[in-house]
Each structure stands twice: as structure tokens, then as C-alpha cells.
């Protein structure tokens, strides 16, 4: 028996709607990442120096893969060590800072091993580094996680034998909005002051202390035109140069 619709006519065959295919690979290519050490600092140096340095950096990247990573990622680095038993030592840690420009670019990894906090500063382009693996991709709310030194040690402990967490290429890198709890004061730096502009700490200080810290705020700094350094055009140019050179 066929179903009679409200109109009284017999139901005709409705073909199913056509599937919409979203090509996620093409969407992912739209995200361009340029490592921050390629952007030249503001100064009176000859641009030829940066060009020659970039050529060396690209040459190193062709031979040795330096993955895309931000502050807050958990990395495992194997370096050549003449004093180790297998001539190679592996260190796992969270990246708390990326500094330096050009060939001397560095990143600091932090981990707590057997209740002792350890920080190691590696040079990205050093020939002694044998492998850099990204174990967990996750951005944090700040660019500089130096406050982890004054946070409770549980926030800096990471398992040395952690397995790499899989991450699809086209997806956005997730931002971990973790608010870290701190050890009691005194800290190595006064992190509550607006100069550091930290969003990733859960301040359990009384209201008066937070108000007193705001006394050191400099609201005129964001309007200072001499401090502006617009890197968007420079970044575009360098990104095109680097991606073309790496494709060859």
C-alpha cells in the first residue's frame, strides 16, 4: 500500500541530496606558517646579510626537517653527545620560549625529572641535533611560559616515554586555555605586573595586590608609533621565498 501525502497525490521518488565534498587539504594549505627566526629584526643591518643567512637556513632545512612548532608544544630532541653511552641523548619537554633570529635561533625545553626541574636551551640550526619530533601540538595563551618555573611542578612534568599524539595536517592547532596555579610568593619575576601581560596564570592573590600591580601599567605604550614594527609585508615576501626554495 503506498503512502498518500497530504495533497492526495501518490509520493514520487525524491532523489537524495547530492553530498557536498569539502576538500580539507586545500583548506589546510591556506594556513601559512613562517618560523619566527626568518623575520629580520629592525635595525641598520644590510639586507644582504639576512639574505645570505636565509640561504644557509633553507639549506639546513632541506637536509634536516625542522617541524612547525610554537611555544607550548611538547617536543622530543635527540642530540649527538660524545659522552653518552649511545652517543645520542634524548630530551622531552615543553617549549617555553623561542628566541634569537637567523642561524642563532634557540628554543628552551622544560621538564621535571625525578623532582628536579630541568631546562635545556637548544639551537635550531646546530649540526649536533639529530631529530626533533613534535609529541603534542597545543598552543598556550602566552608566547612565553617562563612562569612555569614558579608554578606547581605538576604543570611542567611530562612523561619521557610519551607517545606522539596524532594531529591531522589541515586542522587548526588547538589552544589550551589552561590557567596554571602558582607556588606561594616570592616568584622569580613579578608575573602579576602588566608588563608581562600573562593570561595563563590563575592569580590567587588578594584584590589589593592586583590593584597595586596595575600601578606599573603603561597604557601609552600601545599608542607609541615609534615602537610599531609592521612585519606583514616582510613576512609575505620571505614566506614566498622560503616555500619556493624548499619545494625545489
Amino acid at each position: 500500500s503506498c503512502r498518500i501525502s497530504s495533497d492526495g497525490k501518490p509520493a514520487t521518488f525524491q532523489p537524495p541530496p547530492k553530498p557536498v565534498i569539502i576538500d580539507k587539504q586545500k583548506q589546510g594549505l591556506q594556513r601559512r606558517f613562517l618560523s619566527p627566526e626568518f623575520i629580520p629584526p629592525r635595525g641598520r643591518t644590510d639586507p644582504l646579510k639576512f639574505f645570505i643567512e636565509r640561504r644557509d637556513m633553507i639549506q639546513r632545512r632541506k637536509v634536516f626537517n625542522i617541524p612547525e612548532f610554537y611555544v607550548g608544544h611538547i617536543l622530543a630532541v635527540t642530540t649527538a653527545n660524545p659522552y653518552a653511552s649511545e652517543k645520542a641523548s634524548r630530551f622531552v619537554g615543553i617549549c617555553i620560549q623561542r628566541g634569537g633570529k637567523g642561524l642563532g635561533a634557540t628554543f628552551v625545553l622544560r621538564n621535571v625529572i625525578e623532582d628536579q626541574g630541568v631546562e635545556i636551551c637548544y639551537e635550531l640550526y646546530s649540526p649536533r641535533i639529530q631529530a626533533i619530533e613534535v609529541l603534542k601540538l597545543e598552543k598556550r595563551l602566552d608566547d612565553n611560559l617562563m612562569y612555569l618555573r614558579d608554578a606547581l611542578p605538576e604543570y611542567s612534568t611530562f612523561d619521557v616515554n610519551m607517545k606522539p599524539v596524532s594531529h591531522l595536517e589541515h586542522e587548526e592547532i588547538p589552544v589550551n586555555k589552561l590557567q596554571v596555579r602558582m607556588k606561594p610568593k616570592p616568584w622569580s619575576k613579578r608575573w602579576e605586573r602588566p608588563k608581562y601581560n600573562i593570561k595563563g596564570i590563575k592569580f590567587e592573590l588578594p584584590e589589593e595586590k592586583m590593584k597595586e600591580a596595575q600601578k606599573w601599567s603603561k597604557p601609552w605604550l600601545e599608542f607609541d608609533m615609534l615602537r610599531e614594527y609592521d612585519t606583514s609585508k616582510i613576512e609575505e615576501k620571505i614566506w614566498r621565498e622560503v616555500s619556493e626554495a624548499l619545494k625545489k
Binding site: 644582504l48 649527538a80 642561524l103
Partner: protein, 242 residues
């Protein structure tokens, strides 16, 4: 300045020096100069010919070369004399050679005795009246005078100084850049005089240099980058200790 790594994994800091439009300007014979060896005048970076008098421009006109910003004299042996007007390139130097670099230091202006000569000054507290960065005593009682050359405040910097025995790690022949070990006196983009080292320990370090100089129109075809034997080149894989 840039880092450079050796094949054993050690890092050294390196200064980049660019050889920009260098020409030989004049040959001065031993009798003319009054010294022990003949001399060659070499000019550096090009500059505009309009701000100097005609008499100063004579040297450049004779050599057939635009006006140069820096002119320096080099004491040369008889067999190393070059015809005025020949261009000089970075390939004149080779990696593994040792070099002396002379330049005017960064000018600091009028400076006090603590910054200029490294005096210790006086304590900040414990009763010091208006005396924290002063030189203190300048002579003894018996001398009854102040000796010539007494270290006192004055203009600091902006004088010629040389760093000796700097090793050349790498040479870029396309852009004429010399990579020299360590730091060099002078500010960024300043004019500098580079000369073969006269240290006695570096006498035998120069093996087969281009003599008298590297001629660009000659038969020699050099690769774009010349490296010292110990330098880690970025085309090689990472360093391992066996």
C-alpha cells in the same frame, strides 16, 4: 655577526665583511715613501666625486676609477706590485688564512674615568660625599707633578684599532664576503682595512694564496662558496660521534 659550526660540533662567532668596489689606486716606490718596502694605495667603497677638491681627485683620475670613500696604504714586497686600476676581490683571501682587521672604534663621546679606563670608583654609601665615580688621587706627594699620559676623563672611541690573528672561515665569491672569526672593531656597515696577519705564529698559515691577487678575468673558475676544511657545511647530514 653569525654563528658557524665546525665538523666536531663546536660553535664559533663570525663577522661578515663585504669587499665593495676595491681598486688599487697608486704605486709608491721605496724611495718616495721613505720606508723599507714599496707601498700600494688601495681605495674602498665608491662615493660621489663632487664634494672633494680637484687636487684630491687627481689620484682617482690617474687610476681611472670613481672616487673612493676610504684609502689605505699597504706595505708590499717587490714581487707583489699590482698595476693601479685593477679591482680587488674577496677571493684575494682564502679560508684557513689569518688576517688583521683595522677600523675606527665606535665613538662614545666624552666619558668618565670608570668607563674609559675601568677604574673602580668609590662605594655608593657609608658616608661618601659627592664622590662615587671620580678618579681619586692623580699623583704622589714626592712627584710634585702629574705625569704625562695620566688616565683621565676625555673623548673615548673613534680611534683606529686592530684585532690581530683572525681566522678566515669562509669566502663567498659571488657577493664578495669574507667570514672572519670573532669580533672586529667598528660599528655596523663601517669601513675596515683587512690585511694579512703579521703575527709570528701565523707566518706559515698562508698556503698557496692567489699571488699577487685574484684576477677576475683570469682562467681560474672558483665555486661560489669557499669553505675551510673544518667548517660544517649545511649540505652535509648532522654531526655524529662514532
Amino acid at each position: 655577526m653569525m654563528p658557524i659550526w665546525t665538523k666536531s660540533g663546536k660553535k664559533h662567532a663570525v663577522t661578515l665583511l663585504k669587499v665593495q668596489d676595491c681598486h688599487v689606486l697608486k704605486y709608491i716606490s721605496k724611495e718616495e715613501s721613505g720606508g723599507r718596502t714599496p707601498q700600494l694605495l688601495v681605495g674602498g667603497k665608491n662615493a660621489s666625486p663632487f664634494s672633494k677638491s680637484e687636487s684630491a681627485m687627481e689620484i682617482f683620475k690617474e687610476a681611472g676609477v670613481p672616487r673612493k670613500q676610504k684609502i689605505s696604504t699597504f706595505n708590499v714586497t717587490d714581487d707583489a706590485i699590482i698595476k693601479p686600476g685593477t679591482p680587488l676581490y674577496a677571493a684575494h683571501f682564502r679560508p684557513g688564512q689569518f688576517v688583521d682587521v683595522t677600523a675606527k672604534t665606535i665613538g662614545k663621546g666624552f666619558q668618565g674615568v670608570m668607563k674609559r679606563w675601568g677604574f673602580k670608583g668609590q662605594p655608593a654609601s657609608h658616608g661618601q660625599t659627592k664622590t662615587h665615580r671620580r678618579p681619586g688621587a692623580i699623583s704622589t706627594n714626592k712627584a710634585a707633578k702629574v705625569y704625562r699620559g695620566k688616565k683621565m676623563p676625555g673623548k673615548m672611541g673613534n680611534i683606529y684599532r686592530t684585532s690581530f690573528g683572525l681566522k678566515v672561515w669562509r669566502i663567498n665569491t659571488k657577493h664578495d664576503i669574507i667570514y672572519v672569526n670573532g669580533s672586529v672593531p667598528g660599528h655596523k656597515n663601517c669601513l675596515v682595512k683587512v690585511r694579512d696577519s703579521k703575527l709570528p705564529s701565523c707566518k706559515d698559515c698562508n698556503k698557496n694564496p692567489p699571488f699577487p691577487t685574484f684576477f677576475a678575468d683570469g682562467d681560474e673558475e672558483l665555486p661560489e662558496d669557499l669553505y675551510d676544511d673544518e667548517v660544517f657545511q649545511f649540505t652535509d647530514p648532522s654531526v655524529t660521534y662514532a
